[in-house]
Amino acid sequence: MGFTFIPCMSVPNNTKNVFIIIPAFNENTVIKSVVEEISQFNYSIIVIDDGSEISLLPLLRNMPVDYIRHRINLGQGAAIQTGIEYALTKGAEYIVTFDADGQHDTIDIQKLLDPLQNNKADIVFGSRFIENSTQNMPKGRKFVLLLARLFNFFITGLFLSDAHNGLRAMNKKAASLIKIKENGMAHASEILVQVKNKKLRFVEVPVTIKYTTYSTKKGQTGWSSFRIFFDLLLNKLFK
């Protein structure tokens, strides 16, 4: 008999129920440093390996992460949905999506969590345009994102300052209501549609995006926005 101390439960501002989900596809060069950076904080981390050619598991040995692997590549939307479902079964209160290519700043995670923890919002989107918080954004990218914002506005009626930012946070309620069916990159717009339909409260928070050579190369080109457009259009028409 004696004194039982359950750290997770007794500390009011505990962070283990904050789950960072990192969808990763062939990110073997950066995934380790990204996870290392996040693991300085006391969050739970889930890496979803979306069928990478070489398993990311060896890189993540002895690191405090849960590792889920899709046996085949499905797309980022599918990976995020898997991560959300898994995190919910592990008792997540808050879920943060974080890109594996190292373009987000870990400091921003708490900024995203604040509105959720103060019960001001159900879902928080990171935005690179609220303040001039973005480093080295290519000009072409800026224009494509403007078009994407307009497009999102047309299909959702929500005009956000940023359209496709991988950094977002949601509470348990939003996480269980949102069901991503767009396996590809169209999930970003799909989430907005569902936020609108499920009447979730949302806010935008300025975040920093680092446009490194790696993330620019790995990231989407203007061409992929056409694919997103057709994904959404076709699926809306032929559902």
Binding site: I48, D66, I68, I72, T82
Partner: protein, 116 residues
């Protein structure tokens, strides 16, 4: 008989045989296929008969009527295929996802703790 007619009829017969041999069919499918094939062969042999139908619908030539209806028909097929592909994709996603989640749980069981 023109050579084009022979080619077309051979084409229809090949498609018919391929379909029957490849997919063992339900009786109704077979019936539908036979009637379409016979109809096709009939119109190939007597193309002027299509003109009669076309005139009734206000189209100049039978060949034009066929062209228009083909467009509609193939659009319909594309949509059906797209919807089916999409449903298939959803099923596949669900399968891979369930498997991934149970794999992850197995990993945890093997280690006896919640870490990789």
């Amino acid at each position: 008989m023109n050579s084009i007619q022979i080619l077309l009829i051979i084409g229809i017969i090949i498609i018919f045989l391929y379909y029957v041999l490849r997919f063992r069919n339900a009786f109704f499918d077979l019936l539908l296929l036979i009637s379409f094939s016979l109809l096709g062969i009939y119109f190939i042999l007597f193309p002027e008969k299509t003109n009669v139908i076309a005139h009734k619908l206000g189209v100049g030539r039978g060949a034009d009527l066929l062209f228009y209806s083909c467009i509609i028909f193939f659009l319909f097929i594309i949509i059906k295929l797209f919807a089916r592909l999409r449903r298939l994709e959803e099923k596949l996603t669900e399968m891979v996802r369930q498997q991934a989640k149970s794999d992850a749980d197995l990993e945890i069981d093997a280690k006896g703790k919640n870490k990789v």
